[in-house]
């Protein structure tokens, strides 16, 4: 069996429609950019028109600087009621101002949405009027109409679209438009005459338009078009109309950059949908069809790179290339990942600001904001990684480069934050030379980078394992969805933790409060016994390794749905170069062995301490010391277990290492409590669960770097490099 890259299977094309399309990803990105940019602008408007004078009024309500400087000390203050009352009045006032800002931001969003929906409702009628479109009747072209009905059935459309035409338009073209309930296909007179002169070309163009309807991108397209105009009219115009030049001149570059990003995202949606429609149409069009010829004959105007970037149609070359092997539809680029990060980075602070006003509690705000944007990023970037991995498995495209993509995502998030209005009035990382939190922010960025790279690598591994194990479109959809849920959970954990750390750092370090390092250590200890943390770490290794629980396919050709052509030869099997099985049993064995080793050591330590302790029993401090020393020992053994496993297992060594560490961690927790009971202690449920989480989480955290080091060392040995796919080996 051979992968698709070999000459034998060159004519076989991968099916870009087996996974969610890039049209959807780009569409979501556009929505987020419009959302973030509109929030930015309306927040700016609120700040400029309302908040600045209102905040000044609030300042007058609070305790003055002289009042605060006269306070002798918190313990010596006899009657703080006056200060408390003034502080309360100040907080209430600020809350009211923030609420007003929230109302402005929500009103702005509602305005953009209303304008978008109104335009969407208006566009079909406008298209008909402007295009002088009338119904194509049986009286005019009975044969053409009959052919269109047959083609609609071939395309599998649940309902017949309405066919309109402009007989006076002598170009040969078509257009799919209309509302979701009433899709329309407009044909030019030139195209209708082609039904007689070149029926194959006629079918090719009509199939392309029907493919837009089948792909469900017509509504997305017109939503994208409408939202751009709505953004211009309802967000951008008021910004320039209502703001003073002082404000506009400072924020102009941000607003123009955002506008350009929104425009570019819109054109990106419009461009990519054409290629998906071409690919779908090419399947119906049969090998004898004329789609390639028609596309090849399209005019190829000479234009610069900048114009090319902003055009709404892909070039004829791009379309032809997408039809040939479709490799372009499976690519994930650094810049597109950066844009995804940028969009999230722009919207996240503005969205958090809105949430801070509407939802009580910084933790809840952080969680909600992180969850929203983690889901978004997992959806967009995860989909692209799955597509790129599919192309890699079929040997028609390069494997996704996790480090590069992780860097793009982290940089995008950072740059997006700098674009947002939030940072316009705040000293962030890049403006942070005067900010005492600059070092802390750098540490957080490194953590963000590490989290992003891990996310990218994990998505690649999951895609690689599950794409080879999915036997039906349904199982692929299920595994894809599962991966995005786990990916979202992981990213939520990363973004949420960083968000809280960043806020705490900003507040503490910015205000010069003492004890920040103790706070960080305490925070880490609290994080270690969080059940969410355990669940995410568990899912990270369990999800990809779960493929070994699936039944092996009886027929080697079961993944036919991953290919466009129905007649897929049996030689076309994904990732057939790998051939190395998963070895969860090895990891289990190593994990259990490690658990037994811990058990022996723990029994020995406990017995020594039991018989050497004073008659009154151990002090609380000694008990704490024993507890944390045992947690440390357990973490150390788990790290060694992971390293040994990573050294022995050939496929997905790091994930097998995490499995071994987890099995070891469970055994160690069990042993810890068994010995405790044997020596006369008890097992409180809360304490047991905290201990389990702390042992397993700290073990996993220690296991990741050590197992990675072992793997990196192993990769340096020449004969070890050849056996596996690089990204899977790296896992």
């Amino acid at each position: 069996m051979s992968p698709l890259g070999t000459s034998e299977a060159k004519s076989i094309r991968l099916n870009p429609l087996c996974l969610p399309s890039d049209t959807g990803c780009r569409f979501v990105l556009l929505i987020v950019l419009v959302l973030g940019s509109s929030l930015f602008i309306y927040n700016g408007l609120a700040l400029h028109k309302l908040s600045v004078p209102a905040y000044q009024r609030c300042m007058a309500l609070g305790p003055s600087a002289s009042e605060l400087s006269n306070v002798p000390g918190i313990t010596e203050l006899r009657d703080p009621s006056a200060l408390v009352a003034k502080s309360q009045a100040f907080s209430n006032c600020v809350r009211r101002v923030q609420l007003n800002s929230a109302i402005w931001m929500l009103a702005g969003l509602a305005g953009v949405l209303t304008a978008t929906l109104s335009l969407m409702w208006f566009i079909p009628a406008w298209k008909k009027r402007r295009g002088r479109l009338v119904s194509l009747s049986k009286e005019d072209a009975p044969a053409v109409l009959a052919c269109l009905e047959t083609m609609s059935k071939e395309a599998g459309l649940p309902r017949l679209p309405r066919f309109l035409w402009n007989p006076f338009n002598s170009a040969s073209t078509g257009l799919a438009f209309g509302s979701p309930g009433e899709p329309c296909v407009a044909l030019s007179g030139g195209l209708v005459t082609q039904y007689y002169t070149d029926p194959a070309a006629f079918r090719a163009v009509v199939f392309h338009e029907l493919a837009h309807i089948r792909n469900g991108d017509v509504s997305k397209t017109y939503f994208a078009v409408a939202t751009w105009y709505a953004f211009l009219a309802v967000a951008l115009a008021p910004f320039f109309a209502a703001m003073s030049w002082d404000f506009v001149s400072v924020q102009l570059w941000r607003v123009l950059a955002l506008t350009l990003l929104v425009y570019w995202s819109r054109t990106a949606v419009l461009r990519v949908r054409e290629m998906y429609a071409d690919v779908r149409a090419s399947v119906w069009d049969t090998p004898r069809g004329a789609l390639r010829r028609v596309i090849h004959a399209l005019p190829r105007p000479k234009e610069g790179a900048w114009r090319k970037c902003l055009r709404v149609h892909p070039t004829a070359e791009e379309r032809s290339s997408a039809l040939e092997d479709g490799a372009g539809l499976f690519r994930i680029s650094f810049w597109e990942t950066l844009l995804a990060g940028l969009a999230a980075g722009i919207a996240l602070p503005n969205f958090s600001l809105l949430l801070q006003i509407l939802v009580p509690g910084a933790m809840l705000v952080g969680l909600l904001a992180s969850l929203t944007f983690a889901a978004l990023l997992a959806g967009i970037v995860g989909t692209r990684i799955w597509r790129a991995t599919l192309a890699d498995l079929a040997a028609i495209g390069p494997a996704p480069k996790a480090a590069r993509l992780g860097l793009a995502l982290a940089l995008g998030l950072l740059l997006g934050y700098e674009f947002s209005l939030y940072s316009a009035f705040d000293s962030g990382l890049t403006t942070g030379m005067r900010n005492p939190a600059i070092f802390w922010n750098c540490v957080l960025f490194v953590m963000l980078l590490a989290g992003s790279v891990l996310f990218m690598r994990w998505e690649t591994i999951s895609a690689s394992t599950w794409l080879q194990a999915s036997l039906t479109p349904q199982s692929l959809r299920g595994s894809f969805l599962g991966a995005q849920i786990v990916g979202t959970a992981f990213l939520t954990l990363v973004l949420g933790s960083l968000f809280v750390f960043w806020q705490v750092g900003d507040t503490y370090l910015g205000s010069g409060l003492p004890g920040f390092s103790s706070l960080v250590v305490f925070g880490l200890l609290v994080a270690l016994n969080q059940p969410a943390f355990t669940l995410v770490l568990f899912a990270l290794w369990a999800f990809p390794l779960a493929t070994c629980l699936r039944r092996a396919p009886a027929d080697a050709n079961v993944s036919r749905f991953l290919f466009l052509e129905g007649e897929t030869p049996t030689s076309a099997v994904l990732g057939s170069g790998s051939g190395v099985p998963l070895q969860p049993k090895v990891a289990l064995r190593i994990g259990l062995t490690g658990g037994v080793v811990f058990c022996i050591l723990h029994v020995m330590i406990r017995l020594v301490l039991h018989y050497s302790s004073p008659p009154g029993g151990q002090s609380d401090q000694s008990k704490m010391l024993l507890y944390y020393s045992q947690v440390l020992l357990a973490a150390l053994i788990q790290a060694i277990l992971a390293a040994v496993t990573a050294g022995r297992v050939r496929r997905l060594p790091l994930l097998h290492g995490l499995l071994a560490a987890f099995v070891g961690g469970c055994t160690m927790t069990g042993a810890f409590f068994a010995v405790n009971v044997a020596l006369g202690g008890g097992v409180a449920l809360k304490f047991a669960s905290d201990t389990f989480q702390t042992m397993v989480n700290s073990g996993a955290l220690a296991a990741i770097p050590l197992a990675s080091l072992v793997f990196a060392f192993r990769r340096r040995i020449p004969h070890e490099r050849a056996f596996d796919r690089p990204h899977e080996a790296a896992a």
Partner: protein, 159 residues
């Protein structure tokens, strides 16, 4: 007869000419003839809608024959009406006679318009007139020739 009457007859008899010269344009004929009668000089033979941003992509537009065929036919009918004046005393019957020239196999008009046979010289004049008019309307020479031949062919076929 007024110009609009010639246009009206041109629209009526033009389908046969278009069927010979450009049968693929027959689906467009009804719309084009209606538009022609509303505004005879308004239909361009080559037009591309500017609103194609989201369409398939626009290949080079083809040149329609129908928008040229109708005014050319109208000029031919005017010529034929002048030729028929010497044959037909009752000028009200000229219109019917013209229609009959293009469709002799159809039912005779109630007024009893006479069947007129066109000479070889007249047919040559008609061809020349049609060709020149078509060229004047910026039709390419080969298409103009096709149109002129189709008009003469229709006249001959119904003779």
């Amino acid at each position: 007869m007024s110009v609009s009457e010639f246009d009206q007859i041109a629209a009526e008899v033009g389908r046969d000419v278009v069927a010979r010269a450009a049968p693929q344009e027959l689906p467009l004929y009804r719309s084009m003839s209606i538009a022609y009668l509303q505004s005879p000089s308004a239909i361009p033979s080559k037009s591309v809608s500017k609103d194609e941003m989201l369409g398939f992509g626009v290949a080079e537009a083809i040149t329609y024959l129908t928008p040229v065929a109708l005014p050319v036919l109208s000029a031919v009918l005017k010529f034929l009406a002048d030729e028929l004046k010497s044959y037909i005393r009752d000028q009200h019957l000229v219109g019917d006679a013209l229609k009959r020239l293009f469709n002799r196999n159809g039912p005779p008009a109630p007024g009893g318009a006479p069947n007129v046979a066109l000479s070889r010289e007249q047919l040559e004049k008609i061809r020349k007139l049609a060709f020149e008019n078509a060229c004047a309307l910026k039709l390419k020479s080969d298409q103009a020739s096709l149109l002129a031949d189709s008009i003469v062919g229709t006249l001959v076929a119904s003779a």
